[in-house]
């Protein structure tokens, strides 16, 4: 009996110690332990470093290359760190494990994150429009519209904006998810699978649509006109927002500067993204740069899009509890920065 008790006690001790080791993964209730900064009482507190996340091939890369963030923050001795991703869900995971302060990604994963208590909020919009989502098919396919998807193999990246888009395409053609064979692939694998003709079609979002077209891995069938305004929020962690609201204002200003610069210097901007995506810059110019928005406002289109996405997520039971979508975004920082 003694042996059993001591074994149990040792096990408990081991678990407690072990859970202390991976402190990155288990976070205390009020985030009392902040790994961002040592100063917490000063109201004009500044972080030592700002960690910025983004999807490849977007305004964030341009802002980084042109040094807009460094320009804004280095004078205060604040460093900037970048992480790039190919899809949204890993960005949410980075927020949850407190490795990111602000990021730009699709609205679906961001709303799922906020609704599930990941502690994030949209403070601006980094892109939007009806021309950012696309249905693509094999290069020599005879698919002409979503109707022709029946019985076909369609690739999507589950958990990202393209998932909702597929459902909308199917709906518009009177089809149901069971009428197609859905394959879950990461964006880069979608490109390969389409090129290798392992899938008949795919739903993609920029910059991947342009990469597919540039590499002749497939052809575009349609975009999201009339179906869905693609909203791409600038998302920050509630922690960071609470601690450094003026930094959020300044970050938005930096993003906006990058947008204005991109508008004025389309050629150079195309070069930057062409290098990152490894495709010709003319394709980037036509497919991405000239279609980009030129501001970071949360317009009515954007907030309506958030609403539409939330309705989809709630009705498909991907979000299990009711959530007030209006609490997902906050325009006060844009207003304070004079951008809205």
């Amino acid at each position: 009996m003694k042996r059993i008790i001591s074994l149990v006690l040792v096990t408990i001790l081991g678990i407690v110690l072990f859970s202390g080791c991976g402190t990155n993964e288990i976070v205390a209730k009020d985030s009392k332990v902040s790994r961002q900064t040592k100063e917490t009482s000063n109201s004009a507190a500044k972080p030592e470093v700002i960690r910025i996340g983004s999807i490849i091939g977007t305004i964030s890369t341009i802002a980084k290359e042109q040094g807009f963030f460094e320009e804004e923050f280095n004078k205060d001795g604040i460093k900037v760190e970048y992480q790039s991703f190919t899809s949204g869900p890993p960005i949410t995971e980075a927020f949850i494990s407190n490795k990111l302060d602000i990021a730009t990604y699709g609205d679906q994963p961001a709303i799922v994150a906020a609704a599930n208590g990941a502690g994030v909020k949209a403070v601006g919009s980094f892109t939007g429009g009806y021309d950012k989502l696309a249905l693509v098919a094999q290069i020599d396919s005879d698919i002409k519209s979503p109707k022709d998807l029946k019985g076909k193999k369609v690739g999507i990246t589950v958990g990202t904006v393209v998932q909702h888009m597929l459902y909308l395409y199917l709906d518009s053609a009177g089809l149901k998810p069971e009428d197609v064979s859905i394959v879950n692939l990461q964006p880069n694998d979608l490109i390969t699978a389409l090129a290798a003709k392992n899938i008949d079609a795919a739903v993609t979002v920029e910059p991947f649509t342009t990469v597919i077209l540039a590499k002749k891995a497939g052809k575009q069938i349609s975009d999201s006109t009339g179906l869905k305004y693609m909203a791409g929020p600038i998302v920050a962690s509630n922690d960071f927002i609470t601690k450094y609201p003026e930094i959020i204002n300044r970050l938005l200003k930096a993003y906006d500067k990058a947008k204005k610069w991109e508008e004025q210097n389309k050629d150079k901007a195309s070069e930057i993204l062409a290098k990152e995506l490894n495709i010709p810059k003319e394709v980037v110019l036509a497919g991405i740069i000239s279609k980009d928005t030129d501001n970071v406002k949360i317009t009515e289109d954007v907030s309506k899009a958030f609403e539409q996405t939330y309705q989809f997520l709630r009705s498909s039971n991907f979000i299990k509890k009711d959530y007030d979508i209006k609490s997902f975004y906050d325009v006060q920082f844009l207003k304070a920065a004079g951008l809205q």
Partner: protein, 273 residues
């Protein structure tokens, strides 16, 4: 007569004692998991463990119930089990066949040594991009991954089993002038059977691990897909329910194999441990 009766009586009593001893292990064995679960639940309820990172046991249980009710769990498990069965049969047949050849004939072993030595260290995960390229994203590549994964441990154990046939048996066979086929079927294979079974048990465990890996990349069904898609949809409770199911099924498979092994190898005292 009375002696025979008392010996039988002794045997029966020792068997009863054995069973009772084994049963008495259960309460002690269960204490640790139960304590862990209670501790975990308390930590989760008090917010020391973030639900998005590690859901509470109660949350995972809820997810389980929902998955079972909607049929999602069983549907996906069955699909994965079916894939494992297919790949495992291929891997096992090849493993036993090649293993017997290598075990019996030194020349075969030498001929294949470099190729096998080169291929064996390649981890299954590294095979996946290659197989997907060759066989597409359908069942073919998944079954192939499982076959490759289960092949190696079976091969190694079969070879080892055949090599370790006791020389004494072979000498006896030689004295009795048995021909090669009789030696193979009546001495070598039965002698190697415990090792072969070990290989088969390890092989099915690896096959089960492979199916999850195979389904993580390009899939629309199976337990690996359930885990991957629930991760992408930020549903860690479903994800963990899926992960635990993998463990449970793995345990079931292994226990079943052990029972089969015991039945078939009754004569081998080692197999009863």
């Amino acid at each position: 007569m009375a002696e025979a009766k008392s010996i039988y009586g002794n045997q029966l009593r020792s068997k009863q004692i054995k069973i009772l001893t084994k049963l008495s292990h259960y309460p002690a064995a269960l204490i640790v998991p139960i304590v862990i679960l209670i501790f975990w639940e308390i930590m989760s309820r008090n917010g020391y463990v973030k639900a998005l990172i590690l859901p509470a046991p109660s949350g995972i249980l809820d997810a389980y119930i929902e998955l079972i009710k909607s049929g999602r769990l069983f549907d996906n498990l069955l699909i994965s089990i079916f894939r494992v069965a297919q790949g495992y049969v291929v891997g096992a047949v090849l493993g036993v066949a090649v293993g017997i050849l290598i075990g019996l004939f030194k020349r075969v072993e030498i001929a294949f040594s470099i190729v096998l030595g080169f291929l064996r260290p390649i981890p299954i995960i590294a095979w996946m991009p290659v197989l997907i390229l060759w066989m597409g994203i359908d069942e073919g590549s998944k079954v192939a991954v499982i076959a490759i994964g289960s092949f190696w441990p079976i091969l190694i154990n079969v070879v080892s089993g055949i090599r370790s046939v006791d020389d004494k048996y072979l000498e006896v066979a030689y004295i009795f002038e048995k021909n090669k086929i009789q030696i193979l079927l009546k001495i070598v294979l039965p002698s190697a059977l415990p090792s072969i079974f070990t290989g088969l048990r390890v092989g099915i465990g690896i096959a089960w691990m492979c199916v999850v890996g195979a389904e993580l990349i390009a899939s629309a069904s199976g337990i690996g897909y359930l885990i991957m898609s629930s991760r992408e949809m930020l549903q860690p409770d479903i994800m963990f329910a899926g992960v635990f199911s993998i463990g449970l099924i793995g345990l079931l498979i292994d226990s079943s194999l052990r029972i089969i092994e015991k039945r078939l190898l009754k004569w081998n005292s080692n197999a009863n441990s």
